[in-house]
Symmetry: C2
Subunit: 308 residues, 2 copies
Amino acid sequence: MTQVYDKVALIGLGLIAGSMAHAMREGGLAGRITGYARSAETRDTARQIALCEVCDSAAEAVAGADLVVLAVPVGAMADVMTQITPHLAPGVTITDVGSVKQSVIDAVTPHLPAGAHFIPGHPLAGTEHSGPRAGFASLFRNRWWLLTPLPDTDPDALARLDRLITAMGAKTDRMDAAHHDLVLAVTSHAPHLIAYTMVGVADHLRRVSGEEVIQYSAAGFRDFTRIAASDPTMWRDVFLHNKEATLDILGRFTEELFVLQRAIRMGDGQQLHDYFTRTRAIRRGIIEAGQDTEAPDFGRTPGARPAG
Amino acid sequence: MTQVYDKVALIGLGLIAGSMAHAMREGGLAGRITGYARSAETRDTARQIALCEVCDSAAEAVAGADLVVLAVPVGAMADVMTQITPHLAPGVTITDVGSVKQSVIDAVTPHLPAGAHFIPGHPLAGTEHSGPRAGFASLFRNRWWLLTPLPDTDPDALARLDRLITAMGAKTDRMDAAHHDLVLAVTSHAPHLIAYTMVGVADHLRRVSGEEVIQYSAAGFRDFTRIAASDPTMWRDVFLHNKEATLDILGRFTEELFVLQRAIRMGDGQQLHDYFTRTRAIRRGIIEAGQDTEAPDFGRTPGARPAG
């Protein structure tokens, strides 16, 4: 691997930025890696694990950087830009890793200095864990990293960022920001809200004790709890900033759910069976596309115990 | 391990019965294991892999058995009982592995000959795969196997069945059938219907091409597709036979979803953040109860490719 940037500044030091730091160091892709997080505790943790050169301000982190990565919740992008704009180097490339693209573009572009290249991005990678200790170098391996470049994006800056991303093991694709936000509302945002909701229902249910819900969770529910264990701040911002697409998909979801509920109530077994047969085929497509493991139950160890 | 039953008859040769055959043979728990499935293709497959002594009728399979396991979809239990009742040995124990208990009790008990012991059961174990080839000996290891014995159940017959189940590696618990059906509506039945629904929405969505939904599924949606790949016949029957509890939980789910949808629409970030923080704690409880792995993303291999 050859170095792609001289100095990469990571703003926000969570799972994604942390994994980037590991992957860039492993591949020798950046001359220097600096980082900043708003929370002093996060900065201390990042220092303890020697994640990167941790700075005490975003301004210090970005000074002289030829790549700045905005790895904060999407609601915090505008605020970060006001902190860093006066300190950006000429010709800098700025990218972000937010799960919503149109609202990040709206938040960032008004702050861009002349000559800076902003290329919005979104790695489709993550786990239910968060924070600087959650990162690992192989997070992006064989995963998609979507870029939603603006019409006037500089081709050389785009090609260089693409080189960094593919060198970290990811596959890149490009699409329009609005289209990205709709696709992700289907594949990620609505499923997350639904999982949060179902876990909330279980939590509230007074007739069933909490212990039983947890004890007997292995029958499907526990998969929802994994998704519903994701970072609350990140997800609050996703829903508030991809409001229209998420509400659109949730509306379709509720209609569809009512159709199936009615089939249950009316005892229409044929309708249920037909529906469940169609959905089964989609799983096959995902496995064939290399997007998930075919191993039963995700290859989960039977009766796995906590590691610690 | 010592032999618990002289002859075990498996009616239905899917994932659960197949796994029982492997586990019982591995542990030397049964003198003989016979089996029957309605489909000739399933019987042929079971013979090819030497799963057990495959019979061409349920009557033949149960003749002389001291344990009969009903491992068919819950809607097929009554029909199976009419086939086997005249051929049951005196003092036989009958159990089932259905995901719903009250309706199985209602279906089975009218057919029971005098002196037969019926002990309804439900192993909380499974994968998204089905059929005789899907079984494996360790499926039940460290998993719960719920029993819902009737008030007049013979204690010796119950203790013997319990011995078989724990020898296959499972942990047993006992509860009332109606309570079982409500707990499972929360932890399994409602989550499955919701997953089926979300996958159906993605399938219908015309503005987003199928390829993109599949290509970019790694962001949460693919977990739903695993659940929604479960056996359509089994699940049709679960919903039709646990109708009231499932509709109750789905009603609560919809109410809760509307509350969160409204918070998104009104931009109430605090409400969303509070909700997501509470649901995160439930995940912690499940991991501490040993019901799931703590490994990020279920320990799924990054970018796993199909094995075949």
